[in-house]
């Protein structure tokens, strides 16, 4: 028989593959987070920038080191660890001491991710594991907020930022005093509501011109960036929809019962870490359910818990615990919501 004998190579079907890859998904999440990070730097200056750089740097270094140690070669290439670093920094107060940020970054990756077995195996969102650790270890530093748009934010670090390792940060009153003429209570809108019963202008809340964690303040920007992810199908739209929806409904009910004590739905949605949590942390694929019905339950559960903690608990903010609880519940949710398989008595 004539020539033309190409070597045939055996492959297993399917022989086609979508272009979406893990690295591509992670890259898009990073793109979507960049404007949020930029806004954090704009609102809070070089301290926020230093915090972002530290968190990302330590996260990457930790994963690089631990994955090599485990003999698997570096796994940082998939990009997921960069997201952890950015998210951690965004949830911390702008002037959070860098050494504490570094500790939190290490804990996020070492305990929150690598201990479980790395990408795909973590039961919880790693950034929130680090954040929860910091909250327990440094309760006062993590509630020391500074004003937004301080005049000297690009020329000077917030003094707490540069606290030497293992020391507690200095008081911030003096820096705050030179930063701004208006009075600043040192409290976030959520704290003001909780402890003083004072509401914040929803417009300022939406845009983010309020005190708060570095990357959580601009609800509108976060929602826009989050919608980019949803439109590109890089995150499951049902999770933020369910979480924000249930938070809004729950606060509507609370507000109707006692408007003086409980904030309205708009305030609930725009304040604190709800937007960032709903779009960027609850949607962490690894720690959320895979079944279509499960995802709705998971999202609604987190929205509800957030409002319950905010309104009934001792803390002003509950998003972090709500998401961690949602993560913890997701295996159970998965197993009770297994889809009904074709041909197993669904319909005739």
């Amino acid at each position: 028989m004539p020539a033309a004998a190409p070597e045939v190579e055996l492959r297993s079907s399917p022989h086609l593959h979508t272009r979406r890859s893990v690295a591509m998904i992670m890259r898009h999440v990073i793109y979507a987070l960049l404007p949020v990070a930029a806004a954090a730097v704009w609102f809070f200056g070089i301290s926020a920038l230093a915090s972002l750089v530290t968190a990302v740097g330590v996260c990457v270094a930790t994963e690089n080191f631990l994955s090599r140690l485990a003999g698997r070669g570096s796994t940082v290439g998939d990009g997921s660890v960069v997201i952890t670093g950015i998210l951690l920094a965004l949830t911390l107060p702008p002037g959070f001491p860098l050494w504490m940020t570094a500790v939190g970054a290490f804990v996020s990756v070492a305990l929150g991710k690598m201990l479980f077995g790395g990408l795909g195996a973590n039961a919880f969102n790693p950034a929130l594991v680090g954040r929860a650790f910091l909250q327990a270890a440094f309760p006062s530093a993590i509630t020391a907020y500074t004003p937004v748009l301080a005049r000297n934010r690009f020329s000077e670090f917030i003094p707490a930022t540069l606290t030497p390792p293992f020391l507690q940060p200095p008081p911030l009153d003096r820096w705050i005093a030179q930063a701004r003429v208006d009075a600043f209570s040192g409290a976030t809108p959520l704290m003001q509501w909780k402890f003083d019963g004072a509401a914040t202008d929803p417009f300022a809340l939406g845009l983010g011109a309020v005190a708060g964690s570095a990357g959580e303040t601009s609800a509108v920007l976060i929602a826009l960036c989050g919608c980019y992810l949803l439109v590109r199908k890089m995150a499951d739209w049902r999770i933020p929809a369910a979480m924000l929806g249930s938070a809004a409904l729950a606060s509507l009910a609370f507000h109707a019962m006692n408007p003086a004590r409980y904030p309205d739905a708009l305030f609930t949605l725009l304040s604190g870490g709800l937007m960032l949590g709903a779009f960027f942390m609850a949607t962490d694929m690894v720690a959320s359910p895979v079944t279509p019905r499960g995802v709705w339950i998971y999202g609604s559960l987190m929205g509800l818990i957030t409002v319950l903690i905010r309104n009934l608990g001792g803390l002003p903010e509950g998003v972090m615990y709500a998401i961690l609880l949602g993560n913890a519940a997701s295996p159970i949710i998965d197993s009770v919501t297994q889809p009904r398989v074709y041909g197993h008595g669904g319909r005739k």
Binding site: Q338, G343, K348
Partner: protein, 453 residues
């Protein structure tokens, strides 16, 4: 939850995938005949069921269309000579599965007219269902959509089952393939004729022909051809893979679900591919046998892609040379890219079940690293059977094969490939599932044998 939805004109099912179609290369090319090769290799087992039994001797001369092997049982079909020539030998030949299987080697006479002289007309209207079923078996026609299951067997549903609806599969949802598309566009009358034959044999009341909306010319041709036949309708469905899978198409067109482990007959349906019916419609009234089929030869690895009418038994290598296979061709797939197996050797022949030959070139190879499952749920959203490939994949990694079968319905998986296709971690899920099924089968075989002893 609703699992299928009905739009104004196009129906489809809720899950599955829609990969790039790559059909434009060949969709508009009319069917062309491949020349006869110097040697035809006609395997005795080109279908599901018992192999055919040769009824010719070596050195015997045969005319094109003459029976050369009889059916080896009820679930079996005869073979007919694909060309006028002489039987060279009856010997083992490489098969697609990679092993050797008995085949009849036939040397076509280069100077013969290759006219089909065999056969005699008959009137199907005067035939009883049983006569029709026998006549269908005599044509040697099997499922030409790839399954190669003997068609006449489907016409005899199990005791107590009545078929009310015949479903005709004109979806051709696999990317690249345009075989069925061309058959519908060029032989719509034969398709309808075939549909009438199976309806009569089954005593079915109606026929629905499902065609995906990416083949408007095929839909138009069929719609013209069904005029006057009230029991037959053409239903446009939205292009989506794997709509052409029997169970899925039954769900889309009839809104019925075939029970797990069951047959379409359990819900009163029988499904036939358009190419199968076209051959039946053409051959049965003339008392002829299946000797050729349309094969799409395409892909980046061939320079002359097309829809070729190939004599059964044409060696793959020869067919690919006619389609100008490139020197950088790297893998050859029989059937579509989602479910077709890659061949180990080009010395295998084209058989009744080969819908297409897809040739990839070296450039198409994407080196891809496998990541752990990130639980993105893409596979869960894609599985047309609503399985949980994510969980199945994790269990497979831990070799918990029995749990996969008992708790997660591994056996229902028909290896459509949607889950592997969408997985961003490039996990070869289908490969895992095949292995798991294999292991479970072997284990089960062992315990059964143990019990028997």
């Amino acid at each position: 939850m609703t699992i299928s939805w009905f739009g104004n004109s196009s129906r489809t099912f809720g899950r599955g995938v829609h990969p790039p179609e790559h059909k434009e290369q060949t969709a508009g090319l009319p069917i062309r005949r491949l020349p006869f090769p110097p040697l035809l290799i006609v395997p005795l087992s080109q279908h599901t069921g018992a192999p055919a039994v040769p009824i010719v001797r070596e050195r015997q001369e045969v005319v094109r269309g003459e029976p050369i092997a009889r059916a080896g049982g009820f679930v079996s079909v005869p073979m007919h000579a694909p060309a006028t020539g002489v039987i060279d030998r009856i010997a083992p030949a490489p098969s697609v599965k990679g092993d050797l299987a008995l085949a009849i080697f036939l040397k076509p006479y280069p100077s013969a007219s290759q006219e089909i002289l065999y056969g005699a007309p008959r009137d199907i209207e005067k035939m009883s269902p049983d006569e029709l079923i026998q006549a269908v078996q005599d044509t040697g026609v099997v499922g030409l959509g790839g399954a190669a299951f003997p068609t006449h067997v489907k016409l005899k549903p199990p005791e107590g089952r009545r078929i009310d609806a015949v479903i005709v599969n004109g979806c051709e949802c696999e990317p690249y393939l345009t075989t069925d598309h061309r058959v519908m566009a060029e032989q719509p009358a034969e398709v309808i004729h075939g549909a009438r034959i199976v309806m009569k044999a089954l005593g079915a009341e109606r026929t629905i022909i499902g065609v995906e909306d990416n083949k408007p010319d095929a839909i138009a041709a069929l719609e013209r051809a069904v005029q006057g036949f009230d029991a037959i309708t053409v239903q446009r469905v939205q292009a989506r893979y794997p709509q052409g899978a029997e169970k899925i198409l039954i769900q889309v067109l009839l809104d019925r679900q075939v029970p797990s482990g069951g047959l379409p007959a359990d819900v009163g349906a029988a499904v036939f591919n358009v190419a199968t019916l076209a051959q039946l419609g053409e051959l049965l009234p003339r008392r002829q046998g299946l000797i050729e089929r349309v094969v799409t030869i395409t892909g980046p690895g061939v320079d002359k892609p097309g829809n070729y009418m190939a004599a059964l038994g044409t060696p793959l290598r020869w067919a690919l040379e006619q389609a100008a296979i490139r020197h950088d061709a790297s893998s050859v797939i029989l059937g579509g890219p989602m479910m077709g197996p890659a061949v180990a050797s080009l010395d295998v022949p084209l058989t009744k079940g080969v819908t297409g030959v897809l040739v990839f070139s070296r450039e198409d190879k994407q080196a891809s690293r496998v990541y752990p499952c990130i639980r993105c749920a893409a596979c869960v959203a894609a599985c047309p059977l609503h399985l949980n490939p994510s969980r199945l994949g994790l269990l497979a990694l831990k070799e918990r094969y029995e749990e996969m079968e008992l708790d997660f319905h591994l056996k229902d998986c028909f290896e459509c490939g949607c889950c592997s296709y969408v997985c961003p971690s490039r996990i070869p899920l289908v490969q895992y599932f095949r292995l798991a099924k294999q292991v479970n089968r072997e284990r089960k075989g062992k315990t059964d044998a143990g019990r028997g002893a």
